[in-house]
């Protein structure tokens, strides 16, 4: 990969009340790259970024390291983090309507971000806010700046959130399920918008989603998480064409097809384990159709299997890809 690393996580671990929910995440994101994080609820995909940005509640114990261009973020002083959050790294969330302040005009809320991160004031704020609204495709920007969040639809509020996130001209945008609460035709609009501003501003994107399709259409590289660990990481095209980890394979096969013959869905049996009582060895072993004794002996480490691909599974990569071939 030719891009230079902008943010790197290494051994990032999080525990709440003595229960470890994130078990040492190693992940790097390059300049201008789009990285997708998939996994089911409780897999740790959101916690990873909340921990890296110091957004978890005080009772969370965070260890390991998250470095942004050499600056350590884990355990950093609030002043350092305040400059990073919103400035270097911006985050948008699933529910835009509850992320906005309902009693302030959206123009005021964007203005706050502009004065905080860009040091703008007075007329410059107004002009820049209007430019951002135009950029994210809110029609009649001038007048809409003095509207309140409840006067916007869900899709428009997400556009407002994106405009606010862009206010600090961030290097990295972390989008946590940005379209999950939106209708499918609006989701397509927002994904197009995120892609367009990313290209325009040369910004890196971390897209957190449970929706494999959304990730496939937006990201260059994908990491699949399960029970607080990354189990597979690969370039997006490779992951969706030939997933190697049995969990990643199961996820892809559980998705009902939109065309072709109807078949019974290949579901993953069982449920996601409780982080308080994770199974011994590989956390996926009890649900895995390929389980062997080796899976129970130790947690498989995430190791590099080829250029740009990492896998945490005791199965030989060849046999895994063969299996995929036979199943197809």
């Amino acid at each position: 990969m030719a891009t230079t690393t902008q943010l790197s996580l290494s051994g990032l671990t999080v525990s709440f009340d003595g229960v470890t929910v994130l078990h040492g995440i190693d992940l790097a994101i390059g300049k201008g790259e789009a990285l997708g994080l998939v996994g089911e609820s409780g897999s740790g995909k959101s916690v990873t970024w909340l921990a890296a940005l110091g957004l978890l509640p005080g009772k969370a114990r965070v260890s390991g390291s998250a470095r942004l261009d050499g600056i350590e973020l884990v355990g950093a002083r609030p002043e350092t983090l305040d400059k990073v959050r919103g400035g270097r790294v911006a985050m948008i969330f699933q529910d835009p309507t509850s992320a906005l302040n309902p009693v302030l005009k959206v123009g005021t809320q964007i203005g706050e971000a502009l004065s905080l991160h860009r040091g703008l004031s007075g007329g410059a704020i107004k002009a820049e806010a209007k430019r951002l609204f135009d950029l994210v495709g809110i029609p009649d920007a001038e007048r809409r700046l003095s509207a309140y969040p409840h006067e916007f639809s869900g899709g428009q509020n997400q556009r407002v959130m994106i405009a606010m996130a862009l206010a600090g001209e961030p290097d990295i945008l972390v989008a946590d399920e940005p379209t999950t609460a939106l209708d499918v035709t609006i989701q397509a609009q927002i994904l197009d918008l995120i892609n367009a501003v990313r290209r325009e501003m040369g910004m890196a994107l971390v897209l957190i989603s449970h929706d494999l399709g959304v990730i496939a259409e937006t990201c260059d590289r994908v990491a699949v998480m399960y029970a607080g660990r990354i189990v597979e990481e690969a370039p997006a095209a490779q992951l969706f064409a030939a997933p190697r980890h049995p969990y990643a394979q199961g996820l892809l096969h559980s998705l009902p097809p939109l065309g072709g013959a109807r078949r019974k869905l290949v579901s993953i049996p069982g449920v996601v384990p409780d982080p308080r009582s994770l199974p011994k060895g590989c956390a996926f072993a009890p649900r895995c159709t390929e389980m062997s004794d080796a899976c129970l002996a130790a947690t498989p480490a995430l190791r590099s299997i080829e250029m740009g691909r990492r896998l945490a599974c005791v199965l030989e990569p060849q046999s895994a890809s063969q299996r995929q071939f036979e199943a197809a």
Binding site: V184, A188, L212, L265, S267
Partner: protein, 333 residues
């Protein structure tokens, strides 16, 4: 065509909505003269975005909400008024599954007791056998004996939805309305519940009205699919055909907006401009025309009727641009 189990004719439902404290009440037409029929053992899927009237239609099909106009008939008879003894008796034969199983279950009762309740309410079978029948049904939907004694909060989301399904099936209904039954579940669990639904439907010969915004899930369980936009059916047809070759511009946009993991080379996505319109302020003519990339003058003036475009497949489309003849079953643009 087998005889229809449930027929809905010209169903309409209008709500009053007031803007502000002293605002004038405006009429919001949630469902607009919709007709359909479902045969025994058949599944009709309803897709559409929020506010398109899917859920209102599901509630009217069960008689939970009276239609303002039109009529629902179940096995040839009109559905009795909601709350009457006759309606209660009939409800044993038609059941509903909602999105949130935790909200649909009683948190203070172990699940076996809840699954047994429909038998007690409708006085079905010998009371001594009822607990056993409840356990058999729970085992059928995949709960272990140990899980049967638990309370809803001690089960996972997928297990709770299994309990809700078991409870709905206790009275051996002919007809099931499922309103977004798997939307709250994770992908791997969603596949388990979808598979279970398909199995149970075949096993119990259930007719279903399956409401969801997820095209993939709807296609997986449905024989026929209807697409709703602002309270209207804009297209209806065989599930596989409809998704393989959507005709109405809105259906085409929906299908093309559905994210896929492998994009065919050269595929162009049809991304709609604009927001879904407010049902309180319906555009005139075809209600989709402000967002339609192919709209012509006629679309602004005249409301298209849902007409059959292909007798063989039973495809119906409400669009001025689609010619109603089998030979021109081609996209208008």
């Amino acid at each position: 065509m087998s005889a229809a189990l449930l027929t809905a004719k010209d169903l309409s439902r209008t709500y009053g909505s007031r803007r502000g404290l002293f605002g004038v009440i405006t009429k919001v037409r949630a469902v607009n003269r919709v007709s359909f029929s479902i045969a025994a053992g058949e599944t009709l899927g309803i897709v559409g975005e929020s506010g398109s009237g899917k859920s209102t239609m599901g509630r009217m099909a069960l008689g939970l909400e009276p239609p303002d106009e039109g009529e629902v008939r179940f096995i040839g008879q009109p559905i009795p008024a909601s709350g009457t003894p006759a309606w209660r008796t009939q409800r044993a034969r038609m059941q509903m599954i909602y999105q949130d199983p935790l909200g649909a279950l009683d948190r203070r009762l172990p699940v076996t007791a809840q699954v047994q309740e429909p038998l007690d309410i409708h006085q079905l079978g010998d009371s001594a056998n009822r607990p056993q029948r409840a356990q058999e049904m729970l085992a059928r939907v995949g709960l272990s004996v140990e899980q049967m004694g638990r309370y809803p909060h001690e089960l996972s989301g997928g297990q709770r939805q299994r309990v809700v399904l078991a409870r709905a099936l206790m009275t051996r209904p002919d007809f099931l309305v499922c309103d977004e039954p798997v939307s709250a579940l994770d992908v791997s669990i969603q596949a388990q519940v979808v598979n279970l639904l398909v199995e149970l439907q075949a096993e119990f010969g259930l007719a279903m009205l399956f409401i969801s915004h997820d095209l993939r899930v709807v296609r997986q369980v449905s024989n026929r699919v209807a697409v709703m936009y602002l309270g209207d059916f804009v297209e209806e047809g065989d599930a596989d055909d409809l998704f393989a070759e959507p005709l109405h511009p809105y259906t085409r946009a929906l299908v093309s907006a559905a994210p896929v993991t492998q994009r065919m080379p050269g595929h162009q996505r049809l991304v709609l401009k604009g927001e879904p319109p407010n049902p309180a302020n319906r555009p005139g003519g075809c209600s989709f025309h402000p967002r339609c990339p192919f709209a012509v003058e006629r679309c602004r003036a005249e409301t298209p009727a849902l007409v059959s475009v292909d007798q063989g497949s039973g495809r119906r489309v409400a669009c001025h641009l689609i010619e109603p003849s089998a030979s021109t079953l081609r996209k208008a643009a």
